[in-house]
Every structure is written in structure tokens, then in C-alpha cells.
């Protein structure tokens, strides 16, 4: 049996593979199988899974991709994930996709599918439009219809009907995978030395491209081994990280943070964990998914729901994780994240909870600055605590 270290390493290799080797292998093993890609934050993967389609999150090209073509087609002040996703398309790396679904979650992401449509011939593209007004009850029937439309789209890719019963079974599987991820997060909150944020990130990220059944096995394997891990607590401050709901920082960035502190909760890969409770397993599955999106989800900077303040959510996260501070770190040029950074900052100032503000970029390669900034921040907190 592979150790946690080995599993994490395998995930890291797969995540860093710009050729999507894992997915291509899956296609070879399943010659009739179809693959759909989606742009973050969230996609109801259950519907694709029920159709026998492998849902793959297209999360940009990280810090290994060179922008050879995208820069000529894209505006300089766009976030990196949009550019590198277009680069993936222009360079033919997404040729394995049978469908790509984008979501107009922000002004930058509105352009991206359109750019792909113009410049990546042969790639079938559509949009999933999430309701912009979650305060109203009308959002639910709207989203229910939208998920139905997506079902029709996926049926055309799969070449057969995707009925409710099969989706319900997929919902059960995804509930299980979300439960296991929640368990790992609970361990991190409790004993962060047992499983690091960077390890957890890679384990969750693996679920963005592998079939959910395989991911469940992987998570179970890791969870079974965590209690036996030889790790001792170190005197580090406990922080919650906020800002990576869409573009993801390089794993080295997370490692640089955790050299200095325990990251006890975060919003990395938020889409995979957006639904915070089980989706009901009986009844109309698409309606259940729609209701869960509105009423059982974490906040993100691109969901607009003034029934609750985003900073209430973050504060609750900090309190339940007994964090001493928060790191507010949106992606460079990510306007929704940058705006929320101020919203959180003011709230945390009022609550007397220290916050560190920094920006990241998926393509960054130098992490000394991140380490130094975090060290200075942590020292100040420890100094005042003592």
C-alpha cells in the first residue's frame, strides 16, 4: 500500500502534468468515454458523471506553462488563470475535451469562452450561467432549469439520456467524496501537523480530474493512515487562508506559508467543496443540486447573496478553526477577490483579528517574499501573544 507521502507525490505529478496524462490514459482505458472540462468555480459534476462523462476542472496552467500565444490574444490586466487556460486551448492541450463549459463569474471569465470559441476550432463550448441574485427564491427554479439545460447538453455529448435515477446515484457518490474531504479538513483544524495544507490541497485537486470513485478510494486510503503518521505539533501560529476560490496558487506558495504557520482552513479549490453539506439523495436530483448551490454552500467572491455577509462566513471559519489570524490573498488582477479583501479586512480589523494581505499569481516562481512577509506577520502575532 502506498504511503501518504507517495500518494501526495503522485497527485503532485499528475497536477503538474500539462499534457493531462491522467485524463488521456483514462480515455485510452475507456475508448467510448467522453470528457468535459469546466472552468471554476463550480460545476455540478454529478450530472456529467451520471452520463458516463469524466468532468475535469480546467484550472489554468500553473507556473509551468509558458504563454506563447495567449498574450497576443489577451488583455494584459487579466488574471493568470484566464490567460493560461486560453493558452492550454491555443496550444492544443485541450484537444481531448468533448465539451468545455465556462461560467461568466467575473468580467475576465466572460471573455474567456468567447476567445476560445473564436480561436480553438473544434472545441465545443457553452456557458453555465449561475443566478446573479441569490437573495430571491426565484434563483432556485431558474437554476433548476439551467441544470436541466446542462443535462441536455451533456446528453448530446454522451449520446444517451441521463435520467434522474442515475444522477441520484452520482449525488450519493459525490456526497461521500465531499464527506471524506470534510473529514480531512476537520483533522487539519484539529491537528494540522498530521496533514498539511499543501498535502490536503493536492489530494483535493486530484478529485478535479479523476473519477469520483477513484478519488473516494484515494481519500479513504489517506484517512486510514493519518492517525499513524509520525508528526508532532510545532509552535506555529494558526491561520485561515482566503482568496484562492478560483485561480490557484502554486503548491510551493502554500508550502512557503506553512513553513511559518499552520494553515488550518482555506478556500483552495472551493468549487470542489462549495456544497458544504450532503445534497439530499431523494427526490428531484437537479432541484436538490440547485437548492444546495443556493442554500448549502460556502460563500465565494463570485456568488452574490446579501442574505449573509461573506465576512460572517470567514469569521465563523476562523472561530471554528481557532485561528489566530487570517491571510487575505486574492489572485493578482482578480477583481472580485480584491474587492472582498477590503470587505474582510475591515471586518477583521473591527473584530481585532490580525490579517495579512498579499497577492499571489499561479505563475509565480519565487516564494522568498511570501515566506518573509509571513514570518514577519507571524512574529508580530507571537510577540503580542507572549
Amino acid at each position: 500500500m502506498a504511503t501518504i507521502d507517495e500518494i501526495v507525490q503522485r497527485c503532485q505529478d499528475q497536477v503538474g502534468d500539462l499534457a493531462f496524462g491522467y485524463v488521456r490514459d483514462w480515455k485510452k482505458r475507456n475508448p467510448q468515454g467522453k470528457v468535459m472540462g469546466y472552468f471554476p468555480v463550480y460545476f455540478p459534476a454529478e450530472i456529467a458523471h451520471a452520463g458516463g462523462i469524466l468532468p475535469v476542472a480546467i484550472l489554468g496552467g500553473g507556473n509551468r506553462i509558458k504563454l506563447k500565444q495567449a498574450d497576443a490574444h489577451m488583455y494584459s490586466f487579466m488574471c493568470s488563470i484566464c490567460k493560461s487556460t486560453v493558452e492550454l486551448g491555443l496550444s492544443g492541450r485541450l484537444a481531448f475535451l468533448d465539451l468545455f463549459v465556462g461560467s461568466p463569474i467575473c468580467d475576465a471569465a466572460r471573455h474567456m469562452p468567447n476567445l476560445m470559441q473564436r480561436n480553438v476550432p473544434g472545441l465545443t463550448i457553452d456557458l453555465l450561467y449561475y443566478p446573479g441574485n441569490l437573495r430571491t427564491e426565484l434563483a432556485i427554479p431558474y437554476l433548476h432549469r439551467e441544470f436541466n439545460r446542462i443535462r441536455q447538453l451533456l446528453e448530446s455529448v454522451a449520446g444517451h439520456a441521463i435520467d434522474d435515477e442515475v444522477i441520484r446515484r452520482s449525488v450519493c457518490l459525490y456526497n461521500e467524496s465531499r464527506r471524506l474531504v470534510r473529514e480531512i479538513y476537520a483533522i487539519r483544524r484539529d491537528s494540522p501537523w498530521l496533514i498539511l495544507a499543501s498535502e490536503c490541497y493536492l489530494l483535493v485537486r486530484a478529485g478535479t480530474f479523476m473519477p469520483v470513485e477513484e478519488h473516494i478510494d484515494l481519500l479513504r486510503e489517506v484517512l486510514a493512515q493519518i492517525p499513524d503518521r509520525h508528526a508532532r505539533p510545532i509552535d506555529k501560529i494558526r491561520v485561515v487562508y482566503e482568496g484562492a476560490f478560483c485561480e490557484q496558487p502554486p503548491v510551493e506558495f502554500i508550502q512557503a506559508l506553512e513553513e511559518v504557520c499552520y494553515v488550518v482552513d482555506d478556500d483552495f479549490l472551493l468549487g470542489s467543496r462549495l456544497i458544504r453539506e450532503d445534497v439530499p439523495e431523494d427526490g428531484d436530483p437537479l432541484l436538490n443540486l440547485a437548492c444546495s448551490y443556493r442554500d448549502r454552500s460556502h460563500c465565494s467572491s463570485v456568488q452574490h447573496d446579501l442574505r449573509r455577509l461573506k465576512s460572517d462566513d470567514l469569521l465563523a471559519k476562523c472561530r471554528s478553526a481557532e485561528a489566530q489570524a487570517v491571510i487575505l490573498s486574492p489572485a493578482k488582477f482578480c477583481e472580485p477577490g480584491l474587492d472582498d479583501q477590503v470587505h474582510h479586512l475591515k471586518r477583521f480589523d473591527r473584530e481585532g483579528i490580525p490579517s495579512l494581505q498579499m497577492e499571489f499569481q499561479e505563475r509565480m516562481k519565487d516564494f522568498d517574499g511570501v515566506r518573509t512577509q509571513t514570518e514577519t506577520f507571524a512574529e508580530a502575532i507571537q510577540f503580542y501573544a507572549n
Binding site: A72, H73, M74, Y75, F77, M78, G102, P104, I105, C106, D107, A108, R110, H111, P113, N114, L115, Q117, R118, N119, T124, I125, D126, L127, Y129, P131, G132, N133, R135, T136, L138, A139, P141, Y142, R145, E146, R149, Q152, L153, E155, S156, S301, V302, H304, L306, K332, F333, E335, P336, L338, D339, D340, Q341, V342, H343, L345, K346, Q357
Partner: protein, 448 residues
Amino acid sequence: MSEQTAAQVAVNGAQPSAMRAKAKTLVKNAFGEAWKAKEAGRKICYCFVLGPAELLRCFDMYLIYPEISSAQMAAKKTSLPYIQKAEDYGYSADTCSYVTADVGLYLSGNQHPLGHVPPPDLVINDTLCNTYYKWTEVIHDFWKCPVFSIDHPVRLKRDEKYPYDIEETYQQDKQYVVKQLLELIAECEKLTGIKFDPERFRKNLEFGNQMSALWCEIIDKTRNAPTPFDAVLDGYGYIAGMNTHKGTAEGVAYLEAVKTELDQRIVKGTGAVAEERFRLLWMSAPCYPYFRKIPEMFHQRGATFVYTPQFMQGTRGTYRSKMYDLERPLESYAESMLDYFHGRNPRQAPQWSMGWWGGKDDIRNHLDLMRRFNADGIVFHAIKSCRLNSGGFADLREHLSREGVPILMLESDIADPRFFSEAQVKNRIEAFMEGLEERKYYRARAAV
């Protein structure tokens, strides 16, 4: 020179449009009277320019337009201190500068160069851009006021066959918007104590129809050579004048006056520049802190702007071939919101799509505009802090250059003067104009 100052005389001797100056007065009054309205007990509603003004007017609400407010700060060359205040407060220089200018206003006791702006009793946003949603959240953080979003789904124009019925999707989206409008009506009734009067709404839409008809005539006048007005320098003035008076008799009167003036100019042969040598399309909003400077750099070379997609895009309700249907006002109103993205035909992107959602149609549309307005080239104004406007320009440039369209890409910002470099802009314009001159010369020679 009734409503214009000597400074407004165009640099190359042509007479600027008097109705541009009139627009300034209209906008100034719209701000100057806000506090009086508040004191008279009227509710203050912050509503973005594409918002449901015709509907809100049924509740006697006083409308303040946040983008116009920020644009005015910029045009009056006062935006920078406001923006810097917002940055000191924590906002990033990468945030939309309309938003940061607005935040700066709140941090300055709401003292706007055009008057004291009252805080909102209600904020309404829509789906033109996602920044509206974030901006609304920012306003909510400051004023804790009720917020209402009118959500109209964005669909992607697709070339292939849809596996679902697009017309059905459109009809469902329309019902979704209609229901939201009904919720908005209920919220406004509660807030103002005024009962919704369908007749009054119909009347406002009728004014809206009259304004649309006039506006469509006005913007077509630039097809005349010489064009009687400059699409940037005058056109944006007209847009501000009409957007602050949508669905009103004043709005109709204003556009009638614009039309009359332009007809007279055409008869007299008065152009936007004294000798029109080049006709250009302007893509995007202007650089408001240097609102006059950039167009004037073109004017000096005999170039003028004959069209901008913002004529349609920045003025919801005017762009349709169909008017509001007064027999089914709410539905028709909802259609005007949806059509903004689709055009009436979801298989075809509207002509004002600046590379956002039209796929290959966006290229064809730009080429059609070149022909329709007999243009010599396109100027893309990439706005540093507006990803929605500018995000598609580099790609459009790639495609249109391949079609042989002369393109100039300028970079600055809508409200932040720090992103304007006079020397750089001037050099680029000079080089572009040289290119156009050469092209003209060789074409003329080839024709001999």
C-alpha cells in the same frame, strides 16, 4: 456661442455641437438637485446606467447613476484624490477606477464636484458587468441599504446546433426577468409607499420609444460626410444627457434638440472637424480624465470618430429594431434587458458586442461597421481597470488585422489619470495616422 465657451471650439476650427454643452447642464442639474429631492422626501436610488430607470420613475425615486458620478469626477479632473482615498482605505489600483472613485466619494462625505450626493435608500444593479455586483456589495458595506439585483442571464452565441431549444431558453429567461421585475415593484412600493401605476410605466416606456427612435436617427447621421458630430467628443455627451433622463419628456426634448442641431449642421456642411480626412471607429468608453485631449489629437490630423458600439451598448432600450411593446410592457422591458446580450436572435451576436460573447460574429460585425460608416480604421481604447470592455480587444486586433483593417490600440483608463501617458499616446496616434496617410496615398495612386 450660446452654451459653449471659447475653450470648447474645436481645435481645427470646426464648431462643436452646442448640444454637447447642453448635456453638461442636464447632468449637472441631475446631481445638483439630488439633495433637494432628498429633503423633499423623495427616496434616493443608486441605479447603474442600464438599470430600470423607466420603472423606478414610477415611484418618484430620485436616481443617481454611480458610473456617471465617477465619470464626472474624472471629466472634471478631480477623480485622482478620490481614487487615492479609496486606495489608502485598502482598495487595489487594479479595481475598476469607477468603483474606487465612488468609494473615495463616500470617504469624502459624499462631496461630489457637482454637488452633495445623498446616500442611497436603495441600490439596483443588473448584469451588464460583474463589477456592478461587486460595486453594489461595496455600496452595501458603506451604507447598509437595501439592494436589488436584476439578473439577466448571459448566453454564449454558438455556431453549432444547440442540443436544447434556444427559443425556449430565451422565453424562460424572459419569465425569470419578469418575475424579478415584479419583485422589484413590490420592493419599491414598500419603500416609497407609492402604488405601482401601470399607466405611468407605459407612458415612461412611450417616452423611451420616442428616445430610441430619435437616437437611432441621430447615430445614423455620422454616415454623412462630413459627420456632423464626433462620436466620442459629442457622442458621449449626448449619451450622458439621455441616460440621466431616460423615460422622460425632458429626455425626448433633449434628443429632439440634438437631432435638429445635427440636421442644421448637415445642411450647412458643418463637420466635427473642419476638413474631414479620415473616419474612425472608437471601441470602448473614453479616457474621461483627458476626455477632450485624445479626440483632439486625432482632429488635428483631420480624423474624426463616426461610431462607437457604446451608442447601443451604453444606452439600454435604444438598440433594438423593435420598440417597447406597450401592450405587454413588463415582458417587453425584460426583453430589452436580455436582448442586450443576445440581440433578438440568440444565434446572432448583436453589433455592439465588443468581443464579449459573439464568437466569430464579433469579427464580422466589426467589418460590417467599417463598411456601414465608411470608416478608415478602428481605435481600440483598452481601459486599464475595465476587463469587460477591454478583455477582447487584443484578440479582435489579431483577427481584424488579418482582414486588413488598420488598428490602433491605445491604453489608458476611464477615471484614473495615472494611466495616461501623453507622450506615448501621442506617438502611437502619430504613427497610426502616418500609416493611414500612406494607405490613402497609395490607394489614390492605384485608382489613377
